[in-house]
Amino acid sequence: MSLTRFLRHRATTPPTPQEATPPVLELVDIAKHYPASPPIKALDGVSLTVHPGELVGIVGASGSGKSTLLNIIGTLDRPTAGHAYIEGTAVAELSDADRSGLRAARIGFVFQQFHLLESSTAVSNVSNGLLYQGVPRKQRTRLAIDALERVGLGHRVDHRAAKLSGGERQRVAIARAIVADPAIVLADEPTGNLDSHTSADILTLLGDLNADGTTILIITHDQDLASAFPRRVTVNDGRIIDDHQTQFPTLIPAATQ
């Protein structure tokens, strides 16, 4: 399903808010200050709730605090103040090991620079998404092949990461993020290193995955790109200045045209 078709699909069947189930993500008054004089306020009183099945674009200029926000959501970083909940679990109370466990099982990451192990095959890279859950190797490989097929790379299973094109590499990274069937996929500038055509393909893929029920949060500095998402959260100077829900998104990123 292309992004265009996906957006039309979303337009006709708006997501049913699942208020009964706990939000995938809940941020309450999150602040992140770095010691300096005066203190640098990377985040200052950010509250955000994301429900299962949502596709959220977080948009902001470079230095707006959106990466810090993503790291806190991904439990890679701890806030200075405020509370973060992943599926109702208070992250602040978790030890480093427990947060690692949470990441292993419930959070998928997609990075701008893919972060693939270059000398490993596509399937081995994807199966690493299950490595730290103690899933046996055979099962990991089977699930990894499934995930690669989902992202349209069923024919590239045994290719080394170094031999793949940029778009293919990001597909491998996405397969790795979804292989463990996480509660939320966090994508940090997933198209930042790709040309416009490949970017459109990747966005379409993310849209398709979301249509199948995966909760996805995409960070971007690209306003046009963000406007294509059903929900767009704008961050500036460490604060959320706009949280815009489009039931019927009509804007299609220029890249896809």
Binding site: L76, T89, D98, S100, G101, A104, F111, L117, S119, Y132
Partner: protein, 411 residues
């Protein structure tokens, strides 16, 4: 009487299902060697560093063990039951003499199997009468059974017997023959002793335990008296005794040989000198082992260095693994395993290298090859331990990398 535990009254504790990070042992090993497998050239070069240390230590241990095994085999072959009795110095520091009847007295000691005396003669041996130099050789009047007492063997000809002892014949020690330039008995060689020609009838093989005989020419007692006008006074006695009583024999020898002045008698066991040689080797061995250890430590520092660089280079990978759910312990384990594997690889290469060096050297020296199995095990274990130690610091650094920092784009 039973007491009810406090928890028995409490509600059953409902544990919230919390996802846990776990890494299977096989996966931990695969993860720990991934870095090495993907950088084969660097892995090999780093491993070579440590292998040099291990190889030198194995070679030192192997070569000295082989040399010692050879010495011990030699000692076993020659026997440790040979004693050498010699007149020492008297109270005034002058050379003392053994009483003429001392060989007979020695033979009466129970555990003594055989004894044979020699008398150093105050004369020179030369290749012929025109040569001034005596080559630093001794002339000994010897009893015919000296041959069996020393368990000597002949390179050429025969030893003195009851016949040849009475006529001007001579048997040469191995060194004496060499210095006199007589390599065989072709052309019936003669030597000049005290201005008279003596026919060479035999040349002895080297006597490892009796270098003094190697440097001597031996003539019969009767011949010495008849042709050189010498007075036969024993200056040394060689004897073989029952090995179990060797110490007791050693103790009673001085008073038996010279009851009047037992202090003027020196008793030695020539095989002690060989054993001492084995011991002397130990000092050198320790020195070389020390050098090997230094090489090993340098190799270890090299590994630590490469691992620190590796951690810096692989920030992204570390960040990714943390994002994928690796705990700090998983990351630390990965790098310690990597370092230990690297060092063990070096240890294995070094062990093979060290064994090869030992084999080559021992073969060249015609030694029995003896590479202590403990040395091999120790080499690999030492490498493993050193690798783990060297990996400790880089692993700690890797484990404490801020994951948010580590995944950040570096461009």
């Amino acid at each position: 009487m039973t007491s009810i535990p406090a928890t028995a009254t409490q509600h059953p504790h409902v544990e919230m299902q919390r996802p846990r990070s776990k890494l299977r042992a096989a996966d931990a090993i695969a993860t720990g060697t991934h870095g090495l497998r993907s950088r084969k050239g660097r892995t090999l070069l780093t491993a070579i560093g440590i292998s040099i240390g291990i190889a030198s230590m194995i070679a030192v241990l192997g070569i000295s063990a082989s040399s010692k095994a050879d010495l011990i085999a030699q000692i076993d072959r020659l026997g440790t039951n040979l004693l050498h009795v010699q007149a020492g110095n008297d109270l005034f520091g002058d050379a003392a003499q053994l009483p003429p009847e001392s060989p007979t007295m020695v033979r009466r000691i129970g555990p003594v199997d055989q004894a044979s005396s020699v008398s150093a003669l105050d004369t020179d041996v030369r290749r012929n009468k025109y040569v001034e130099d005596n080559n630093g050789l001794d002339v000994f009047a010897a009893e015919t059974h000296l041959y069996s007492t020393l368990e000597a063997s002949l390179a050429h000809g025969r030893f003195l017997d009851s016949q040849t002892s009475t006529i001007p014949t001579v048997v040469l020690g191995a060194v004496a023959a060499q210095r006199l330039g007589i390599n065989n008995l072709q052309g019936a060689p003669v030597v000049d002793i005290g201005g008279r020609n003596f026919a060479v009838i035999g040349i002895l093989n080297t006597l490892t335990l009796n270098p003094d005989i190697d440097r001597a020419v031996l003539i019969g007692n009767d011949a010495a008296e008849t042709f050189l006008g010498a007075e036969i006074v024993p200056t040394a006695i060689y004897l073989r005794a029952n090995p179990e009583h060797i110490e007791a024999v050693r103790d009673v020898l001085p008073p038996t040989v010279n009851p009047a002045d037992p202090n003027e008698v020196t008793v030695s066991r020539p095989s002690d000198a060989l054993e001492a040689r084995a011991e002397v080797d130990k000092n050198l061995q320790n020195l070389l082992l020390g050098l090997g250890a230094v090489a090993l430590i340098v190799g270890g520092v090299g590994i630590a260095n490469v691992m620190v660089i590796s951690v810096l280079e692989r920030r992204g990978e570390i960040g990714l693994r943390r994002a994928l759910g690796a705990t700090r312990t998983h990351i630390a384990t990965q790098f310690i395993l990597e370092s230990a594997t690297l060092a063990t690889l070096g240890g294995i290469i070094g062990t093979i290298l060290g064994a090869a060096v030992t084999y080559t050297y021992a073969t060249q020296q015609n030694w029995r090859i003896d590479i202590p199995i403990e040395a091999l095990a120790l080499g690999i274990t030492a490498a493993l331990a050193l690798g783990a130690l060297a990996g400790l610091y880089p692993a700690t650094r890797a484990a404490h990398l801020d994951p948010a920092e580590a995944v950040r784009p570096t461009t």
